[in-house]
């Protein structure tokens, strides 16, 4: 087998070689990149809009919080009807026979009503007889009765008044819901719900799946994101708060969310807004694979030869030869 060293020497046989200091080039590049980074860091800092907690949500927009909590009980929120990997309430995305969301099952099980409302209230009812009684009434009632209370309460909420952080609805037959919601709101405003949704029975915590899903179900967080141009229809995946560049390298991925068929309900060839996430991930996987395989794809691999850009890059090579004799030139750096 021919050695690689000999191969490189053979490859360059007859090519004029010049002195080139790679280490010096790297050292200069390190200095230049570091200096540029330091200047940019000093001049522009970096974005750091404070996180939103459930407490700030409940304090800033108590009506949205209570409405979301009631919707969780009714099973009408995004997370409640999501499907895998959280529950089986939704079908999940698929494209023809391709439905990986279904294939992998319910691996992160979350019952939104119980996880975000009932269980926190049960913990809080330890020393609250009024809440304990309301919870018992709720849990002893059948689904039909619960549905009637929720329906009436949800219809009353748009006209609710907010006073000193408390939500009040007009008198009606809501069963134990006003007591439950008032207590959940109080727990949230005090900051306790942030901890309850993260704890999961463990002391050390790093998993924020539950509180993020709950906040995502509400309108408060998405309203802030909309103001910051972070939502999906606003090229949100590549944007970030403030006037910072964001993840510009995701431009192609984000672009697909703005164009047909991924913006259309009807779509094309089964790809539409409903399965846009799956369709775009498949598309980007194919495009990335094609990029990796460019050396083997006729046409794509020939474009560089057709375009004269390489003649600009190798100006020295394509320039008229003054002398055909090989010679050693001065160092580049």
């Amino acid at each position: 087998m021919k050695s690689m060293g000999a191969t490189q020497e053979e490859y360059y046989r007859g090519v004029r070689m010049i002195r080139y200091d790679l280490v010096k080039e790297l050292a200069i590049a390190l200095g230049a990149a570091g200096l540029l980074g330091l200047v940019l860091a000093a001049a522009f800092s970096s974005p750091d809009v404070p996180q939103v907690t459930i407490a700030t949500w409940a304090q800033s927009d108590p009506l949205d919080f209570v409405t979301t909590a009631a919707d969780e009980l009714a099973g009408s929120t995004t997370s409640a009807g999501y499907g895998n990997p959280y529950n089986t309430a939704g079908e999940g995305q698929s494209w023809g026979p391709i439905g990986p969301q279904k294939w992998f099952g319910t691996r992160i099980p979350i019952d939104s009503a119980n996880a975000f409302v009932i269980q926190p209230l049960q913990r809080a009812s330890f020393s609250n007889a009024n809440l304990a009684s309301a919870l018992k009434t709720w849990q002893d009632s059948d689904a039909d009765q619960q549905g009637k209370w929720l329906d009436a309460y949800s219809k009353a909420l748009p006209d609710a008044t907010v006073t000193d952080g408390n939500v009040a609805v007009v008198a009606g037959d809501y069963g134990p819901l006003p007591v439950m919601m008032a207590n959940l709101l109080g727990i949230a405003q005090a900051g306790a719900l942030d901890g309850l949704l993260v704890s999961g029975g463990h002391f050390y915590q790093t998993d924020y799946t539950q509180p993020l899903l709950f906040m995502g179900d509400g309108g408060y967080l998405s309203g802030l994101a909309d103001q910051a141009h972070l939502t999906g229809s606003q090229w949100g995946m590549m944007n970030e708060t403030g006037s910072y560049p964001g993840q510009t390298w995701l431009w192609l991925y984000t672009m697909w969310y703005q164009v047909f068929p991924f913006t259309s309900d009807d779509g094309f060839l089964g790809l539409n807004a409903g399965n846009a996430d799956l369709g775009i991930i498949i598309l980007m996987t194919l495009l990335t694979t094609a990029l990796a395989l460019v050396p083997f794809i006729p046409g794509l691999r020939d474009v560089p030869r057709w375009l004269p850009i390489h003649r600009l890059i190798w100006r020295r090579y394509y320039a008229p030869r003054r002398s055909s004799a090989s010679r050693i030139e001065a160092p580049q750096l």
């Binding site: 980074g37 994101a225 995946m237 995701l250 991930i281 498949i282 460019v294 050396p295």
Partner: protein, 218 residues
């Protein structure tokens, strides 16, 4: 000479050709001699600014790693409460931006030079993999910021991950998982592949101009 004698004595129990150590050293000498790893001569056409994009990408990566190590050492909360921490986060942030700018320029430069020719397809393919893993690394970085951006990006991104079935294994709402991937596994992956990429470039040397030998095909 006692050492030499004992080495010879120990070595006499097996033929020299059976030594894995010797075989490894010979393979390295054969495939990547030092004058190829650190050459002081290059073909005369290596005089374009396009060749600089690769080395400045590496330089930016070094600053990404250095600033990232400082941030990791001090913990994910530090930069939110410390001016020095904020500065290191800013250095990390802008170094990442520079890294991607230079890497994309390097990628386009190599495309228009058809840098995959003459047996260099694997080098190109590893470069594309580095780009993909770098995107994933930056993405987990944005998810690890512990601020509003991280929260909403996570909520937004979960649908894409779940829709593709990836969310089961790559839960963007799980800070611990994203942080661990961002500060450990993914940077190791990027760095290891960059080293492999450089070794492949140095092993083969830079490609010749397009019509020097053959066309733009591999």
């Amino acid at each position: 000479m006692a050492v030499a004698t004992s080495v010879e004595s120990a070595g006499s129990s097996q033929p020299e050709s059976a030594s894995w150590t010797l075989k490894l050293r010979q393979a390295i000498d054969r495939h990547l001699p030092m004058d190829h790893l650190l050459p002081d001569r290059q073909p005369y056409y290596v005089g374009s600014w396009v060749y600089v994009f690769g080395v400045v990408t590496i330089a930016a990566l070094v600053w990404v790693v250095v600033s990232g190590v400082v941030l990791t050492f001090m913990g994910p909360q530090w930069w939110h409460v410390s001016g020095v921490g904020r500065f290191f986060n800013s250095l990390h942030f802008w170094s990442v931006q520079l890294f991607f700018i230079f890497m994309v320029l390097h990628l386009w430069g190599q495309y228009f030079m058809a840098g995959w020719r003459h047996g260099r397809a694997a080098t190109w393919m590893i470069g594309v993999v580095i780009f993909g893993i770098s995107v994933l690394t930056a993405f987990t970085g944005y998810l690890s910021q512990q601020n509003f951006d991280a929260q909403f990006i996570a909520i937004n991104a979960k649908d894409a991950m779940n829709g593709a079935g990836i969310g089961v294994f790559f839960n963007v709402l799980n800070f611990g998982q994203m942080y661990g991937l961002h500060v450990m596994l993914l940077p190791i992956g990027v760095t290891a592949l960059v080293v492999a990429h450089i070794v492949m470039v140095r092993t083969r040397g830079v490609v010749k101009p397009i019509d020097a030998e053959g066309g733009a095909q591999s």
